[in-house]
Symmetry: D3
Subunit: 193 residues, 6 copies
Amino acid sequence: MAAKFFAYFIVFVALFSVAKSDPDLLQDICVAEATAGVKVNGFACKNDAVVTEADFFFSGLAKPAVINNTVGSVVTAANVVQIPGLNTLGVSLSRIDYLPGGLNPPHTHPRATEIIFVLEGELDGLVHFQKNNGHEPASVIAGFNSQFPGTQSIAATLFASTPAVPDNVLTKAFQVGTKEVIKIKSRLAPKKS
Amino acid sequence: MAAKFFAYFIVFVALFSVAKSDPDLLQDICVAEATAGVKVNGFACKNDAVVTEADFFFSGLAKPAVINNTVGSVVTAANVVQIPGLNTLGVSLSRIDYLPGGLNPPHTHPRATEIIFVLEGELDGLVHFQKNNGHEPASVIAGFNSQFPGTQSIAATLFASTPAVPDNVLTKAFQVGTKEVIKIKSRLAPKKS
Amino acid sequence: MAAKFFAYFIVFVALFSVAKSDPDLLQDICVAEATAGVKVNGFACKNDAVVTEADFFFSGLAKPAVINNTVGSVVTAANVVQIPGLNTLGVSLSRIDYLPGGLNPPHTHPRATEIIFVLEGELDGLVHFQKNNGHEPASVIAGFNSQFPGTQSIAATLFASTPAVPDNVLTKAFQVGTKEVIKIKSRLAPKKS
Amino acid sequence: MAAKFFAYFIVFVALFSVAKSDPDLLQDICVAEATAGVKVNGFACKNDAVVTEADFFFSGLAKPAVINNTVGSVVTAANVVQIPGLNTLGVSLSRIDYLPGGLNPPHTHPRATEIIFVLEGELDGLVHFQKNNGHEPASVIAGFNSQFPGTQSIAATLFASTPAVPDNVLTKAFQVGTKEVIKIKSRLAPKKS
Amino acid sequence: MAAKFFAYFIVFVALFSVAKSDPDLLQDICVAEATAGVKVNGFACKNDAVVTEADFFFSGLAKPAVINNTVGSVVTAANVVQIPGLNTLGVSLSRIDYLPGGLNPPHTHPRATEIIFVLEGELDGLVHFQKNNGHEPASVIAGFNSQFPGTQSIAATLFASTPAVPDNVLTKAFQVGTKEVIKIKSRLAPKKS
Amino acid sequence: MAAKFFAYFIVFVALFSVAKSDPDLLQDICVAEATAGVKVNGFACKNDAVVTEADFFFSGLAKPAVINNTVGSVVTAANVVQIPGLNTLGVSLSRIDYLPGGLNPPHTHPRATEIIFVLEGELDGLVHFQKNNGHEPASVIAGFNSQFPGTQSIAATLFASTPAVPDNVLTKAFQVGTKEVIKIKSRLAPKKS
């Protein structure tokens, strides 16, 4: 199907995303025990006796994030890592804030489908990224059908991962010269502090 | 597990809800064909040639709903019925608006888990309902891991369904007299216009 | 769909239940290790060397239960708690016995669909409860597509849980006065011994 | 794991069966439309307007079947074919009646796990068959986590299918001579009427 | 459906197999920790710090196996036991090599569907076994949608398991005399060394 | 987890891929009816009466493909489109052939995990692509846990889709100038014939 159907929509069937779903739960709750000695698919469960309200609450999405990077947008996740009570529940949220001109670069969520609610501003929502082409900040809430959707920036994965994707693979894939590949790699390289 | 853990949370593991998940999709998109002659689990798919942007967009959650009912809250759904493009994607949203004192009464979503983002106001969010005990209106966005979560008001299902649940079942279940049951039934009966 | 279709049936698509299914198993058996130090979705598996026939057998459904309560019915479960061998198998049974006039009050199974086989007697099986309106005892076997379906009494959840659902939520939900709510709460309160 | 653990159990983890589960439902009900022009995974749904109580009820398990065959047992199914309302619900039942000495021969349910409730009599329940070694008739109710579990007799599949499994495959698999294979085939051949 | 459709195919919808699927993964990788103290559905995960390339690589399918048995074929598995990195990934392979006249006897994979790629030679691929009726060796690669499909030889399960299936069950199932059953059992009995 | 673990492996946990699984089947077979008037999730089923052996067989993977393109590799799919019998079975294969120096460019399978068997040659198998750095042709068979895995070239999706991803999105994502973006777009543009 051609991609043209997807401009300015609220449901992001991102070209690299999927509608998969987490396995169903087998008990009422299974609050993630992040420090469990045993690692399993998802997380082991806390003992019920130490589960508290705080395991189901997260205030980190309430306010816009401070945006201080090259692309002009910040994603704040509210998944099983931030909310242990989400473990085995198959759902999570993110908040994305954009400066004017800010871009949430092309990316993929390998374990979830995404649906977007625009909190404020206007977005040129396109196929698999969102860009704030307006003059005001913008913010959205994204819902996912996974407790831990995963997110991978396509550019960073190809040009800034370790071990590096060899230059001759990238020149062949993007049909450019080695010079351009090296240039992109240097720009996307993690900043040394 | 005792229910006390759930006060004031953002994740609603409603006592009557579940973390089930829709079946996975088998192609890129399958936009619901609401008028298809054939009915299947979910919906049959539109022909790709007639799919448009509008199948993935819904503006109905952008503004608070007008609240004009006894309980003081309105739920506006954005599921596969409003957004045909959600078919086979396993995700949907709702917006709930509350007057001061407004209540989203005890209910269940038989096919989804719910996660709540508070847009404005303060809610006494409790186990399986939400109540706005503040002096200002409140609004939330609810994310679901189903294209069609379903919603059933517990009070209406028991006291206002057709055919009626017999009075002697309700007196036994709630341990009250027939008089009280008849009273509740009359109050919850659908208004005749 | 109107509820009238469901009177006197053998398949209980209870209004608050769902047809979800447990995750598939990944090995031949995984007998629940109830005392495992680690808690996971479902149960960890016993070492095969200590698995015995007894892990797959349960005689507790063979005879009618003694019924000695207000509602006149008793549910005897045969799920993963009673039969550890059911772990990861996605199936379980219950037996429900009813005195004449006995009621299995409105309830929900959050993780399973239920199908009923009537062992003896006649039941006014209605939407989401069963009542023995005959003059003889009645018994049924219920099959579930989950190793641990869960069961929640609607009345008890709303009027007898801890922490209590506030009175003003219940008055608004059921459209009755505080007096009636307090009355129901007192009747449904767990007996102190 | 050795098979010896499974003698005399109530849960049949038949050696050829599996704990798979049907896909989850996407609406309240989807009663099978057996005569639909379109065939899909499972069944297309009847129009709600023509759904009746009868779609959810089946009296065929109420009484023992007449047993009139070589093996001395009869299986009466109550799956989506007999109860159209089971479509998308992921659950079904069977009743099996046995004469004294009757055998439910080794078989497999390719799409379900089975759990057995003994209605009357005693069964030498063994790994993947059941035999009534007592002097009285016996009956069981079997629960499945599928709307259509499927059943295949191992002997008939190998020795009486069309097209026939070649003799030299069977002699090699069972390490017997062609004479024995031909003998078994003739005994298991469908009776001509 | 009659079995005749399946002769000479590449997709094996084996009569005793199923298309079930493993539960979805909840993180990027969960390499099986075979020696974990805790046993779960599938396997617990290794600590990421000790995961290496070797967890995702297996050279055991590269060459034909030495065939030295009665049936003239050998199955070499490449599932989660050989490749720990397959844990939670829902996929695996096998290689099957056949002498001229070799047979992969009737069997079942209780947790997977199988698809076959013929590496060399010709197979009389039939319903639920494969036989090399040619004059040259043959080899295939089989793909499965499970990390651990399981395999059970039908003949061995019925005639060579411990505890033994009673003779009178087998005589009734296969409609032969006790003498034939005893003969088959002796031929299929595990060799004592 | 760092990507370095994945060099030279046989299991491709491609960075953009997932281990999702198709929904389980509900009957023995459901051969895809490609020309069905009704479109559903996956495909509607052919009438059994017109199912033939050919629906389960595909000879298209038997020989290396002719390679005549810029990247030096060709993928030949054997999924539900080529083998209608795969419908509802959750499994498929592909063959990939590489010239010396050939590259299967970075890509994603949105609905499946992939496992690779090397038929001949040597591949620098890296994270999410494969390159034949040897002097001889190479070929692999890839197994998938989906009847229709989907494949998307990352470069083509970003630089050659319609409608085009705006230049200023790509300059920001890859941190290059407009000139480089236009250059890549022109190189990757579909050839006009």
